[in-house]
Symmetry: C2
Subunit: 241 residues, 2 copies
Amino acid sequence: MKDVINDLKISCSQCSLGDICIPRGLSKTEVKTLSDVVKQKTILYQNEYIYRQGDKFKGIFAIQTGMAKLVTIDPNGDEHILSILLPGELLGFDGLGDTHSCSAIALNTINVCELPRNRIEQACHKVPNLTYELFRHSSDILNDTQTHLVTAKLSGEQKIAKFMLDLSNRLQARGFSKSEFRLPLTRNEIGNHLGLAIETVSRLLKQLQQKKLLDIQLREVTILDYDGLMQIAHKDSNEEV
Amino acid sequence: MKDVINDLKISCSQCSLGDICIPRGLSKTEVKTLSDVVKQKTILYQNEYIYRQGDKFKGIFAIQTGMAKLVTIDPNGDEHILSILLPGELLGFDGLGDTHSCSAIALNTINVCELPRNRIEQACHKVPNLTYELFRHSSDILNDTQTHLVTAKLSGEQKIAKFMLDLSNRLQARGFSKSEFRLPLTRNEIGNHLGLAIETVSRLLKQLQQKKLLDIQLREVTILDYDGLMQIAHKDSNEEV
DNA sequence: CAGGTTACTTGATATAAGTCAAACGTTCTG
DNA sequence: CAGAACGTTTGACTTATATCAAGTAACCTG
């Protein structure tokens, strides 16, 4: 029997995530060359690991479908969700030093593409612009992490508002609805990611709902008022409401 | 008159920061080649900019002497100190995407070395391992930023204890005293960096002083009890004291 | 579909840290 | 060296968020 998964494989050239994922910034011929090197579409189910904290650097991965989270365990043994990854987003840069400093875990059923460690040099040689593009992606991820650091100083309400707007924007950029989506995280995970207690997350979501800025039924979110959410996300703590 | 500054220039080969800075991981001959490409020792005084948020990517810099801070201004116009840079540490990776997402500012008189944007490709070509080493540095910086993210969830006392231990360790790795040093930041800047009010910083420092874990007179710090500080930094909020 | 498990909500209470206000010490400058 | 400017400390008070506790709703799984 032929491998069904294999039949479904989509090369980088055919993939709809071209302007977000690794192919970003590369010419059509370059992407074709890249396709031969990239290992396509490993399927993983919820809670399965793409790589684990402490693993030797495995390579650079790209989410093709589904979502994942980056998680690190601190010296106390406490887990921290560092980021949420959507289709087209790259991961693995945390391992370039030598070993992965965090784990990447599927939040639902996902397909991942892989540029394995031992083929990166070859790939960069064949596609000279790839080196530069990988640096750019790495820089983008650093900047996102720095933005999250800034978010960590905001009030709970601002954190939640920013989180929802950020998800909405990123989903839209990938062709999904920006106003209706299913949260990939439990309240507990949202709280962990944003540095809030689970009860606080619950209360703040209710509050935003009462203000008619969004609607949330368990995991199903509907954004109702972008401007309202942005006002909250950006309001200076000194300003009047 | 000959340029006095120029006379003082130290090439990468002679520099004591070889195992921390760009030369890390390169052979002696590679470092020699690198020396010809790296622009050495621009002197900058307190509050002067190495680069500015919004600047087109300038290049990768290394602090040779002195200290600097990475600062970003958020959409509200509020400043956030993202990191403190010590001798041998690299900066500029935030700009690889295209423009610098934060500013780098001298905290005192510093000497910086520069691998200018337009020479990076040439340098990586001449020294093939350099590309890999730059990726490693970039990954290290990402990991440090993620660690800071985790720190952002700790209590004020833990933040201060970690901050002091971190500085102490990094200073020691660079040949400075690990127990006595001059803080490069005001209380205000410490508070900004750690997400605490200036008054809280003042009170917490006093508290650590009363517990005989450290001594601080204005900017002059003496670490008195490493184990004590580490216990605070790592204690689980559930544990008994 | 019954019983258990997990996820979420809600209320009451405690507390760490922020804010406001004032005073004090240090450093700089003319 | 007097005065200003800046940085730091201290105290009183407020508040956002954590914690504790209990109950409800959703979702497995046999």
